[in-house]
Structures are given as C-alpha cells and as structure tokens.
Symmetry: C2
C-alpha cells in the first residue's frame, strides 16, 4: 500500500512501535514479528500489521520484519530525523520538570527556551536554561526556530499563552493546563490533562464498586 495517508490512530501508535524496535535492536534481535511487536506495544498483532502496511513497508512472509529496516521506515514516517526545538511556558512544578527532562532532547525535541511571567525568575538560569519574559517570546521563536510550544501555566494564563505562541508563529502546542485553548485551525494542539486522566480512572473505579 502507498504511503499516501496514514490514519491518526496509526500515527499515535508509531512511536510505540519505534520504541519497541529500538529495544529489540538494543537486545541484538535482527528480526521480529507482528506478534512480538504487538506484545511489546500492548496492542494486537493484526493492528500492528495493518498499521505497518500504511507505511508501505514490507516484511517477509513466513519470517517477519527486519528490525533495522523497519526502524528506518517507522523513523522516516515519524520524521524523527528532524529536530523540533521546544519552548516551555510556565515554570511551576510541572514546567520545571518538563524543562529539565532530558528524554526530550534525546528524541529530537530540545527545550531551547523557557518563559515565565514572574519577574523574580526572569533573567535567572534554571538547569542551564535562561528564563525569559513573555514579551521576548516572538524573538526567541524566530531566533531559535522554535517549532513547539508547551503550555505549563496555570489555567487562567493558558489562553493568553496560546495566543502569544500563535502570534509568534508556533504551529504546534502541547497543552498541560486544565483548560481548552482555542487557536486557528492551522495550529495543532494536543492536550495532556492529568486531572482528566485521574477522573477517567475514577469513573471506572466507581463503576467497579
């Protein structure tokens, strides 16, 4: 099948496959199968095969997939060769943790700037990262070629922060605030709401009582 269009649900699983493949490569496995990948990614084998078929990838019937080759295909589909600089907005507990998180840089998402409104910390350096004020955002985005904005502000500041990011030309936002932000539809937002996740777990706990 051609690489034409990859379903969203598949895109969301590709990072899991990539991780599994990286682990398999590290373990020295030359080949693998949809069964093994399914087990590792926590999905079923038919789904793995269908997902991989969208990449136009070719395993070998009766044998499986070549780990190196498949890693290459999935990496290319995800565009992991690219580096997308990130700016973290809001340096509360969560923002600080995200800014320090080394796993991002390793995966091609270096945190290149931090923003906060608090004049006490603007100008200081946190873990090697200089803290800037919001009115420097546009210049930072331009100079450092920021591609992704992370919102880790309190709920009240979320929309305002999103507006600033959009105005500065950021086209992708990862929003940790407990507030839905509205942006032009040329901008992609992914919400990660921790309280919502807990409430969903709570719903099922209650139901199972």
């Amino acid at each position: 099948m051609a690489t034409g269009h990859i379903p969203e649900a598949t895109v969301a699983r590709l990072p899991l496959y990539l991780r599994s493949l990286t682990e398999l490569a590290a373990a020295g496995e030359p080949t693998t199968s949809s069964d093994v990948l399914a087990e590792r990614a926590g999905v079923n084998a038919a789904k793995v095969r269908k997902d991989l078929s969208y990449l136009g990838t070719h395993g070998t019937r009766g044998v499986g997939y070549d780990v190196r080759h498949l890693t290459f295909e999935v990496s290319r589909a995800l565009g992991v060769a690219n580096t997308w600089p990130v700016v973290v907005c809001g340096l509360g507990n969560l923002g600080r943790a995200l800014a320090k998180h080394t796993g991002f840089t390793e995966r091609g998402f270096p945190v290149v700037a931090a923003i906060d409104v608090d004049p006490e910390i603007v100008g200081t350096t946190i873990d090697g990262l200089r803290v800037h004020s919001p009115d420097e955002l546009a210049a930072l985005v331009h100079d450092l070629e920021v591609a992704i904005g992370v919102i880790a502000t309190p709920a009240e500041a979320a929309q305002e922060t999103a507006d600033l990011l959009v105005a500065a030309g950021v086209r992708s936002i990862l929003d940790f605030s407990p507030r839905v932000v509205s942006v032009p539809d040329t901008v992609e937002v992914r919400m990660v709401d921790l309280s919502t996740e807990l409430q969903i777990l709570g719903f099922h706990l209650q139901r199972d009582l």
Copy 2:
C-alpha cells in the same frame, strides 16, 4: 435514555464538560446550552447533546440546560464525590512535580504516599510527604486505602513498579514512563507519554513542510 452504558469516548469528555460547567457556575450563569458547552470544551454541539443524553439528563427544549442540575448529573456520573487516594512511585523531576501538584487533591485525588528506591531520600519528607521504600508499598496501600498508582519511574523500573502496585492490590495505574507495562486485565492502565505526544506533533509538522 437510560444510564446503562456510557461509551468510553464520552467518559473521556465528561471531565471537560464538568470543568466548563464549574466555570459557568462561577460566572453566575444559571443556564447554558449545548452550543456554549461545545465551544468551551472544544467539541461540536451535537456531540455534547449525545454525550449528555447517555447520562439520562434532561435539558429543556428551546431553553438549554440548568447549570446546577447538569453539574450534579455529570458529577454523579464521574463519581467525583468519591475520594481516591494516590501513591506516586518514582521521585525524579516529574514524580516530584506530580507529588507537589495541588490540583489533584482539589479534585478528589490526594497524593497520600510517595515511593522511591533511592536510599538517600527514603525516610525524608518532600513537601510534607514522607518518602517510603518499595517494600513498604503493600502496607501503605492497605493502610491508606490507595486506589491509584502513578508510575513516574525511569523506563527500566516501570514494569517492576507496576507488578508491585498490582500485587499490593492497586487496580488503576497512571503510567508516565515511556514503557508499556503489562498487567492483569482487571487492572486499568492509562498511559501518558510525553515523548509520544511530541512525536505525534512532529509527524504533523513534518507533513506540513
């Protein structure tokens, strides 16, 4: 419609509606409409109406929904009257941020215990929270009636931590580690993988190039 069975996709949106309703109540709005809720929750109005219909809730045709009454209905469906104590496992940057996060307690998910393997910090107190070693987990879960386990450990320790949580009787897990953990299917796991979210954004950035 009867309250019999609420689709997962709907459950995942109920926390958004609840938040919107809380904001509307705070703003003194006595009634609202599916249009307003849709706007605030970032979905469309038909979806709001269909979702709410699963709660057996009744708005008033031609008028809208009573904010107080609807808040009550959604709260009951989500079971927010319950309190579900949380244990945070792994006190790196993210774990610490989660342990400190005050929003959880406010929403009925108090962090009642913290676990880490590092003997340097076991026995110390971080933000009023005593740090325990993993072999105290079972007793803590029992004594403090822990309902939810949060995994914020490095990837290598994730499965082991999940096993400990399950053995201790925890039935709901929120997993922040970049690793799929396997658990009995009586246990519900929700994964929140920050790198995966960034990679999904990266995929779309690349595509739009």
